[in-house]
Symmetry: C2
Subunit: 485 residues, 2 copies
């Protein structure tokens, strides 16, 4: 076991945000570097968090009519090259298998950086008629993109994700599907991860390689930087044409179907850390938390221990007597460490509530409830707490979302001049809502000169006349400029 000193030695957020992030990931034992360059090991606590968001997203994916499937890890070189923009976008990041089974391969195999190419080629045989459409599939898998600079969860050479792939008879239907995918992400982010996001459209230069357009959700981290938190792509007929997929439509004409794809990855574990965490470590929303309540027994003598244990048993039994209560994920920490060590240990891991129960509490029939997010302490009668705990967790979940929303609002600025945008970003990271004429040239200039990227063109920003913050040309809407992960 690491010593108490080790556990508490986290870099402060205000001093060095990336250092803080790395400390939290490693000291809360979420993930670690591996012997393979750029690849991470996801440890039990980190994986439990991923499994929770995975489970929730999987429910939304199935609720909206998609079936899970599995496609090969390998994409033959000739298939990856069929869609021109796609190969241009992904080729530089591909890892290639060239030898296998003791022989040199005749054709190199890419480790999938994403599966559009292999899927289009495969479903060619499945899609014959309009009655075979829509084809709504999803796959949970691993992909590899050779990255120069990696950061645990945020950008790793191999990562885990879900990629949905769908085919439709009409453009309209495919466009609705792009929205369905984004809506699944929006709900998981908001309701499960307590992360408020902005839904919008990526600029053309930021869209997926091979897509007609890309929609996204963008979140703000506690250092004011933006994180792309899920993308949904309208592929049009691009991949279908490249693979030669055609179906016989109701009008007896053979047509290529319209495709979409959308993905959400382990990077979202990083998003949770950076949206809610503080100088003591993780702060987890209850829906996501592997442990929602940790009970720390406090005692010195054996008879105290027995009395405390009895009180804890009574409490957990009372909790388990209702359906909502029995669903609460409780951990009683009976390890031999000191109470102080345990407080740090579970604070670092972001457990929403800590319940301290000592001999005096037992006598009073109460426990000391400490909330992770604000460290507020409250002596609560245990019987009352057993009844109220599910509702308190629900309220805490809502509070975290509200807190993140308030943080984002207070770090969102409207700017109308280029210098103002530059000075703003230099002084304080955040979302800078500014007008943009729509040209790639202005976008590139802002990116090159002041590292301000256009995160998205938000769906809900009001139509408003203005002038491009870079060139001064006409603009009808503000977009989100920010520095980003």
């Amino acid at each position: 076991m690491p010593s108490e000193g080790f556990v508490t030695s986290i870099t402060r957020q205000s001093e060095d945000f990336p250092g803080w992030y790395n400390d939290v990931v490693r000291k809360a034992e979420l993930a670690d570097y591996s012997p393979v360059r750029g690849c991470m090991v996801i440890r039990p606590y980190g994986f439990a968090i991923w499994e929770s968001m995975q489970g929730e997203l999987d429910r939304h994916i199935k609720r909206t009519g998609h079936s899970n499937v599995y496609f090969p890890l390998f994409v033959p070189k000739s298939l990856l090259e069929k869609e021109a923009e796609h190969v241009e976008g992904f080729n530089p990041q591909v890892a290639w298998v060239t030898h296998a089974g003791g022989k040199k391969l005749e054709e190199w195999l890419a480790i999938r950086p994403t599966s559009e190419a292999i899927i289009a080629e495969t479903v060619k045989d499945w899609i014959q008629s309009y009655r075979d459409l829509p084809l709504l599939m999803n796959s949970w898998n691993n992909v590899v993109r050779w990255e120069l600079r990696t950061r645990l969860f945020l950008r790793t050479t191999e990562f885990l994700w879900q990629e949905a792939h769908t085919f439709h008879a009409t453009r309209e239907e495919a466009e609705e599907e792009v929205a369905t995918g984004l809506d699944c992400y929006d709900r998981v982010a908001r309701d499960w991860l307590a992360i408020p996001v902005i839904k919008g459209r990526k600029t053309d230069s930021e869209k997926f390689a091979g897509a007609e357009y890309t929609w996204c959700i963008e979140a703000m981290m506690r250092d004011g930087k933006a994180l792309q938190a899920g993308t949904s792509h309208m592929l049009g007929q691009n991949f279908a044409r490249a693979a030669g997929i055609e179906f016989l439509d109701r009008d007896n004409v053979r047509k290529p179907p319209y495709g979409t794809s959308w993905g959400f990855s382990t990077r979202m574990v990083g998003a949770v850390i950076m949206t809610h965490g503080d100088d003591s470590g993780l702060v987890l929303p209850p829906n996501l938390a592997p442990v929602q309540v940790v009970i720390v027994p406090i005692f010195r003598k054996d008879e105290e221990r027995a009395a405390v244990a009895e009180a804890i048993d009574r409490f957990t039994a009372a909790l388990a007597s209702t359906p909502e209560g029995s669903a609460v994920r409780i951990k009683v920490d009976w390890t031999e460490e000191s109470p102080g060590f345990k407080y740090n240990h579970w604070e670092l891991r972001g457990v929403p509530f800590r319940l301290e129960i000592g001999p005096r509490d037992v006598a009073a029939g109460q426990g000391m409830l400490v909330r992770r997010v604000d460290r507020s302490k409250e002596a609560v009668p245990l019987e009352k707490l057993a009844a109220e705990l599910p509702a308190r967790l629900t309220a805490y979940q809502a509070e975290l979302l509200k807190r993140a929303q308030d943080f984002r609002d207070s770090n969102t600025y409207q700017v109308d001049a280029y210098q103002q945008l530059k000075d703003g970003l230099d002084e304080k990271a955040g979302f800078y809502m500014a007008h943009w004429c729509g040209s790639e040239k202005c976008e590139k200039q802002a990116s090159d000169e002041i590292s301000a990227t256009i995160r998205c063109i938000p769906f809900d920003s009001p139509k408003e006349k203005g002038k491009c913050v870079v060139c001064g040309a006409e603009s009808g809407q503000r977009v989100v400029f920010a520095r980003a992960y």
Copy 2:
């Protein structure tokens, strides 16, 4: 939609078992070949079956104290080579990444054929003291083993599996863990897949490359051949020593921990098909079945349709009124195909019960219940059926297990002479219980000459004196000889 003729054109089991298998897998849309040699695509229905067994095994894995984790897909060549037997066993089947990110790699990376090597190297830093043990981990992932001859689900170049990896302070504890792993497999096979298995120990020549010994469960397919259905390995200190893992024990001495690993893969979908299937296709145990009951409405006129629909609604509402009933997975097939087409369609897919409801049934307040396994038909009052359905599914599950057990028993023979073993196997595949002296020479002779491999040395076979069926030397126990997948 395929025509009715297409659906029913399955090769007969008795004529060509492998042809039958392939037809079932492809026509029930479980899996398909892919554009990548030896790799398969798992389609929605096949993946739903995999997800069900995966979910059940995951519950057992967690129940026994293991946490899910993720380790990298890549194993650097130097790490794979650290354990001598391991590399010798796996090297010929490895796929190698040699180029990535536009450059030639300095060190080749193996796509994991299994993860012992990368895990041992990683956990070196995590295991410092006896207090860090046991370390009980599991990973659901994909592995690649370059196979010359592949068959959907049974042997594919890439496959999905779970690999558990554990580390322990003592040999005893590790040996108990090997049993825990095998017990999880035994329970899933028996209780979920309705597959009776023989638990036993692999001979040394069949053990995992790098293990001290391997335990396994072996199942009999309906063609009498054996299928290895899960293995659990005692790794001893082999991988720990190779990676240099040492922990400080209670006695203040630094020691390498003992390791185990155990795996269960998508090949088990193939095992289900070949354990229960018949000439009409799949036969699924209810616990595993994505659809447990398919309701086929029968009607000609619109007013008949309305009456049938109403009866179905009443039935499903009655079913949903109890907790057990609401858990039943029902599908009402309202597609425009003929009833005959639907019968074939769902029989091919192995749905346990079919409920036909037509106008005359509505008048009589009943439905026609058809059981997939024996096609028995019974007119049952719908109200009664709603109450009884959960119990009927439970009974059907037990029946399938019993049926498979009976089949295995009636295809298991005791033989005491080599010629008898050869003639037996040539005449009728099955499990041949015969004495074996324990020598690798005799094992190899039987394998080379008559394709009879020793599937395992069963744990529950009685101690009994006899003579080796190959060489005539003393033996204390019969082993399972069989031809195998």
